[in-house]
């Protein structure tokens, strides 16, 4: 009780603290902090010997809005992008009521760390996975909103990309409320903050760019946003390779995540094709050799027959 009353901030709930829900009476034991932001803190907690993620916030509306999003997403079939919702309740802390919700604990490493440690070949694969999930999300009438590497976890094996923060998830047609400047097309002067598929696809392009610019870069107010991004793409060969896809996504030319996905898998196909070309070249050389050998063989046979003929005549 003493510890509870002396707890001033939700930002450092100590290990072992028991959180009991007022309404559903479930109890959770805090293990450690997983992450925090302006809208609350997420803790790893123990619930009946299972590991769960528990989010607390000072703001009732934040918790309720996020719970609403998680609920609608879990109703939609096959929606596995975000974590699944397990419980919503209030924690009575003296005379304070702290709202919280509990969700599935997704264990994994963040997107940038994963690509850096496992190799660049994972980049396109993870982006393809992400686009598949986004396509589903968009079809259900939602836009992810605050898409950035910190919100993308890679779990597994089997390796799979997951989104962990649904705070920015918005119904299509509404205004995006939560965003991060670097990934926001409004910041770069490349579109509105209305929730539509293109908003997320812009952010996907910026996630790819962020992979090669881990420190990101800022917009210079006096210059046009797009040309600043293009400049950065041109400086990195790996980005230049993906220029066409990136440009289309930045300009909002993809009508769906599926279309962007098509173009990215095309990128892979081109690489394969180039592989095939070298293969067929090699085959051609071999065929050329075989044909020479054949002609040589025929020539030598003729010579032999002729020699036998001449010999026969002489004898």
């Amino acid at each position: 009780m003493m510890a509870k009353n002396s707890l001033k901030s939700l930002y450092n709930i100590p290990y072992g603290t028991i959180i009991k829900g007022k309404w559903h009476k479930e109890t959770y034991k805090i293990i450690k902090e997983l992450g925090s932001g302006a809208n609350g803190v997420v803790y790893l907690a123990d619930w009946n010997r299972k590991r769960v993620a528990l989010k607390v916030s000072d703001r009732q509306d934040t918790i309720t809005t996020e719970v609403n999003v998680l609920r609608s997403l879990s109703k939609a079939q096959g929606m596995t992008l975000g974590p699944s919702l397990l419980d919503v309740d209030d924690w009575e802390l003296g005379d304070r009521k702290v709202p919280f919700y509990v969700m599935e604990y997704i264990e994994g490493v963040d997107f940038l760390t994963f690509v850096r440690s496992r190799g660049l070949e994972w980049l396109d694969i993870l982006i393809l996975q992400l686009l598949t999930e986004l396509d589903e999300l968009h079809k259900e009438g939602w836009v992810f909103g605050d898409l950035k590497p910190e919100n993308l976890l890679v779990s597994g094996p089997p390796i799979r990309i997951r989104c962990v923060d649904v705070g920015g998830t918005t119904r299509i047609g509404r205004a995006i409320k939560e965003f991060t400047e670097f990934f926001d097309r409004g910041y770069w002067g490349l579109g509105s903050r209305k929730a539509e598929a293109q908003y997320d696809l812009f952010a996907v392009a910026m996630v790819i760019i962020n992979t090669f610019y881990p420190k990101r870069f800022q917009r210079v107010a006096t210059k046009d946003g797009l040309s600043q991004i293009i400049e950065k793409i041109e400086q990195i060969p790996e980005l230049k390779k993906r220029r066409k896809v990136l440009m289309k996504a930045l300009k909002g030319e993809y009508i769906s995540a599926a279309k962007m996905k098509e173009d990215i898998s095309q990128l892979k196909f081109v690489r394969k094709k180039r592989g095939k070309q070298t293969l067929s070249n090699r085959r051609k050389t071999r065929e050329f050799f075989i044909s020479i050998l054949e002609s040589l063989f025929i020539l030598s046979m003729i010579c032999l027959i002729y020699a036998i003929y001449v010999l026969g005549k002489v004898l």
């Binding site: 509306d61 309720t64 609403n68 309740d89 209030d90 047609g173 995006i176 409004g186 903050r193």
Partner: protein, 244 residues
């Protein structure tokens, strides 16, 4: 479906007032008129002294709004967040009032089980998206603000971009204090978009006085005279008769 209008004054300053009426009293007046007052303190290398901090907090508290002190580089995100949160707060006040009428005495959203809260939140989200909003922006242009004004301009353009993504209508107007001749000067009249801002700020000549109180008084007066009918307040009867 006709809906009411959320009315706000957004005060952007970097310090304490030193001339005219008590700004906290003017904030109280604003609230009586159904106008929320939000205050953003902008710091750069300098810091706001204790007196200035206290004034910023008191104005917002009295005006039913939100206050926040930020570094100039974080201004854009703060301006849009403060405006949105204050809007939600106003709407939540209206919804809580309604709840009390339906459920009796002192029931607020927090007294309801989480499931019911979710349903009310959906209604609140709808209101946030569709309600009309009027923001009178009041910018302190006293000498110390001079080099922060380009950032303020960026932040206001960004605010316009954010709010115009909503379905509801927006109207912005921009006032500066101190003005060239008077305590406060109107720079931009009600407009749905803040695009004209680019040229407006370059003509400024910052002065020494900080007449925050008189500026707030003028702002309240202007909103009363010019704003669209259908005020949304904490006793939002008018609002709910129209929308529900």
């Amino acid at each position: 479906m006709k809906k009411g209008t959320v009315k706000q004054i957004l005060l952007i300053t970097d310090g304490c007032s030193n001339y005219g009426e008590d700004p906290v009293a003017m904030a109280a007046l604003a609230r009586e008129e159904g106008i929320t007052v939000n205050v953003i303190g902008v710091v750069d290398h300098d810091v706001i002294d204790e007196r200035g901090m206290k004034e910023i907090e008191s104005i917002a508290a009295q005006g039913g709004g939100i206050s926040q002190v930020v570094y100039a580089k974080n201004l854009s995100q703060t301006v849009q967040m403060v405006t949105r949160k204050a809007m939600t707060q106003t709407l939540q006040g209206v919804v809580n009032k309604e709840l009390k009428q339906i459920l009796g005495s002192n029931v607020t959203m927090e007294d309801l089980p989480p499931e019911k809260r979710g349903e009310i939140m959906e209604v609140l989200d709808d209101l946030n998206e569709t309600v009309d909003l009027e923001v009178l922006i009041l910018v302190d242009t006293s000498a110390s603000m001079k080099h922060k004004l380009p950032t303020v301009k960026e932040a206001l353009l960004d605010l316009s971009l954010s709010l115009n993504a909503r379905t509801g209508n927006n109207r912005f107007s921009l006032f500066l204090f101190p003005g060239k001749k008077k305590d406060v000067e109107k720079l931009i009249d009600w407009t749905p978009k803040l695009e004209k801002l680019t040229s407006a700020f370059s003509k400024l000549s910052p002065k020494g006085l900080t007449p925050t109180g008189p500026a707030l008084r003028e702002a309240i007066q202007y909103i009363k005279e010019t704003s669209i009918k259908g005020l949304l307040t904490y006793d939002g009867e008018e609002f709910f008769e129209e929308s529900v």
